[in-house]
């Protein structure tokens, strides 16, 4: 299958006064993939994300999403993307169903809110408030709100932060489902195991620059070709495998 570009980032620059947070980066995201933007804190991931999400203006360069330019057609881009912000809350004292309906109205679309909540395994929580949800449920709900407008791309900023291994596994399953149903997913994460297992392609970012882009396997092979060897030979299982073996993969909430 030919990889069609859905997001094109071109020489993107973002300056805050004298400080340059993003230094002229360029990359492409393909339609129907899970693309991970990796990097330590302060690498410029969130700034890059917020420009793509139309929340911040770029200093220079451009981002094209589905043919629309971020600096000329931000209003159109808003209608074809879904955005999950890190640590963002929801208005209090509204049920999940009411919130989904509210978000649908912001896009002027109709949505079967119960069906959507079932899709993220919150079918039994339609009348609950967000504050009564567990961490994993909150993240799944937050993702549900990004889907109301049937977006072409969704942006998830550190979606698995703060989740236990079971909830994380469950969330990955949901993100893969979303990709498989045709929506392109762009995520940021600090967790390399998450990037390796979940992302189709990743870009590693630091100090405002993109250092490398490729599939996780390509990036690992590049490193190995340079003669890298782990000091200790890889164990055949990780502590996370032990944890999940002992406590089971079933979701706890």
């Amino acid at each position: 299958m030919k990889n069609e570009t859905i997001i094109e980032v071109k020489n993107l620059v973002k300056k805050y006064g004298d400080f340059t947070a993003v230094k002229g980066i360029s990359f492409e995201v393909y339609e129907g993939e899970i693309f991970g933007l990796l990097g330590p804190n302060g690498a410029g991931k969130t700034t890059t994300f917020e420009i793509m999400e139309t929340l911040k203006d770029e200093t220079d360069g451009d981002v094209i999403i589905s043919g629309y330019s971020i600096n000329k057609e931000a209003e159109k881009i808003k209608t074809i993307i879904g955005v999950q912000l890190q640590a963002a809350g929801f208005p209090e004292r509204l049920t999940l169903r009411e919130l989904i309906d509210l978000f649908a109205s912001l896009y002027d679309v109709k949505v079967d809110s119960i069906e959507l909540l079932k899709k993220v395994q919150l079918g039994d929580k339609v009348k609950s408030y967000v504050k009564d949800l567990s961490g994993g449920q909150k993240q799944r709900f937050s993702i549900a709100t990004t889907l109301v407008n049937k977006p072409e791309v969704i942006f998830l900023d550190e979606p698995s932060t703060g989740l236990d291994p079971q909830a994380r596994l469950n969330l990955w399953g949901l993100i893969r489902e979303i990709r498989d149903s045709g929506t392109t997913v762009v995520i940021t994460t600090h967790f390399m195991d998450e990037a390796e297992l979940l992302c189709d392609r990743v870009a590693v970012m630091d100090e405002g620059n993109i250092l490398q882009i490729g599939t996780p396997d390509e990036l690992i092979n590049t490193l190995l070709k340079k003669g890298f060897k782990r000091e200790k030979l890889e164990k055949l299982a990780t502590l996370e495998d032990v944890f999940l073996d002992l406590t089971g993969k079933a979701l706890r909430e």
Partner: protein
């Protein structure tokens, strides 16, 4: 590259209505806001209402050399809530005013006459009231009654033929003012002001802090509609609140509705204008507050001067001369005056146009300021 798809522009009013509805639901489900919106004014009015016993009368002391005849004096005599005291000497009165034992002293003098119709002359009266800073509540109430009576006389004389003047007086005669009639308009204005200042500022600060505003910005909804929906929902609740307070006053404490439903409608219209202005002050607070800790002091800063200077609790005449012009143009003063006119004097809503105009001028000015100062992040 993926092909551009045609995008239907989302209709903003759909978003606006949905946000307004959501905001109303949130307020109605919030026990704190419910308390301050509905129960708190009830408690306040109940306390004042219970203080009011059936035959409560205010003593209006008449100065020894004042006229004790003429239409003004006679009209005042007929007011049930007033008891005209005529046996005090000038020295006693001055002493009583200083000590707060005499709330208001009345002096009526005739000063010429005016021709109001061909061949018909009417005497002109100068009515001077001296009120005591020591008895502000009583002074406020008495002054309001006298002003209302004078207002009635003036409108009837200038607008109608002299014969109708007599009929108009019979209305005054029949009108029984009770304590609630002085208290309710001020309480209503006060309730609208406090709810507006605190309600919208805390809601929006929470929206900012929890990144709810930011989450909205990622959707196609226009920023102005987010504020508009908040203002609209808070205004709807305020109108509901006003209606309940008026009904409460009317059914439980015999609040006088001079012209029945017309007065209710006039008061609700004024409430709407008032809340529109007060909400702009609430938005201004959240525009200049650094964080939620500075909201309360800022709200107090806007509330306290209006509370004291509006005439709702203390008569403006008691304040130093240089403060009075300021006091008279404060939004809450304008609203309080307009409420008193329609509820108390029973005038038409159109007679409060100066107050409504003043309020709208405040509102437009402050909303413009808010749009300049509001920090979205």
């Amino acid at each position: 590259m993926v092909n551009k798809k045609d995008i239907k522009k989302p209709r903003q009013f759909v978003a606006f209505l949905a946000m307004t509805k959501a905001s109303v639901l949130m307020s109605l489900r919030n026990p704190t806001s419910l308390f301050f919106n509905f129960l708190f004014p009830f408690i306040f009015i109940t306390i004042f209402g219970l203080l009011n016993w059936e035959n409560a009368k205010f003593d209006l002391v008449v100065k020894p050399n004042s006229m004790k005849t003429g239409i003004v004096y006679e009209a005042l005599q007929k007011v049930d809530a007033l008891n005209l005291v005529t046996d005090k000497s000038e020295a006693d009165i001055q002493d009583g005013l200083k000590k707060g034992q005499v709330a208001v002293a009345l002096d009526i003098q005739e000063s010429g006459s005016v021709n109001i119709a061909p061949g018909v002359d009417m005497p002109v009266y100068d009515v001077h009231l001296e009120s005591s800073a020591g008895a502000p509540q009583a002074a406020n109430s008495i002054t309001s009654i006298v002003n209302a009576v004078i207002g009635q006389i003036n409108t009837s004389v200038t607008q109608n033929a002299p014969k109708i003047v007599n009929e108009t007086f019979s209305v005054i005669e029949g009108r029984k003012y009770s304590q609630i009639d002085f208290i309710l308009p001020g309480q209503l204005a006060f309730a609208l002001l406090t709810n507006a200042l605190f309600g919208i500022s805390f809601t929006l600060m929470m929206f900012k802090k929890n990144l709810i505003l930011k989450r909205y910005f990622a959707t196609p909804v226009k920023k102005i509609n987010i504020l508009g929906a908040e203002v609209t929902s808070k205004a709807l609740i305020a109108i509901f609140q006003s209606a309940i307070i008026i009904a409460f006053g009317y059914f439980l404490f015999d609040f006088t509705l001079a012209n029945g439903w017309v007065t209710v409608f006039s008061m609700l219209t004024l409430s709407l204008v008032g809340i529109f202005v007060f909400l702009s002050l609430g938005l201004l607070i959240v525009s200049i507050a650094k964080n939620e800790d500075s909201l309360t002091p800022l709200a107090q800063l806007f509330m306290m001067p209006q509370l004291f200077l509006s005439g709702a609790f203390f008569p403006i005449e008691n304040f130093p001369k240089f403060i009075q012009p300021i006091a008279h143009v404060l939004p809450m003063t304008l609203l309080n005056e307009a409420f008193k006119k329609v509820a108390f004097e029973g005038v038409a809503l159109s007679a409060t146009l100066p107050q409504i105009g003043g309020l709208l001028a405040w509102g437009v000015g402050i909303y413009i300021l808010v749009l300049i100062l509001f920090k979205w992040e």
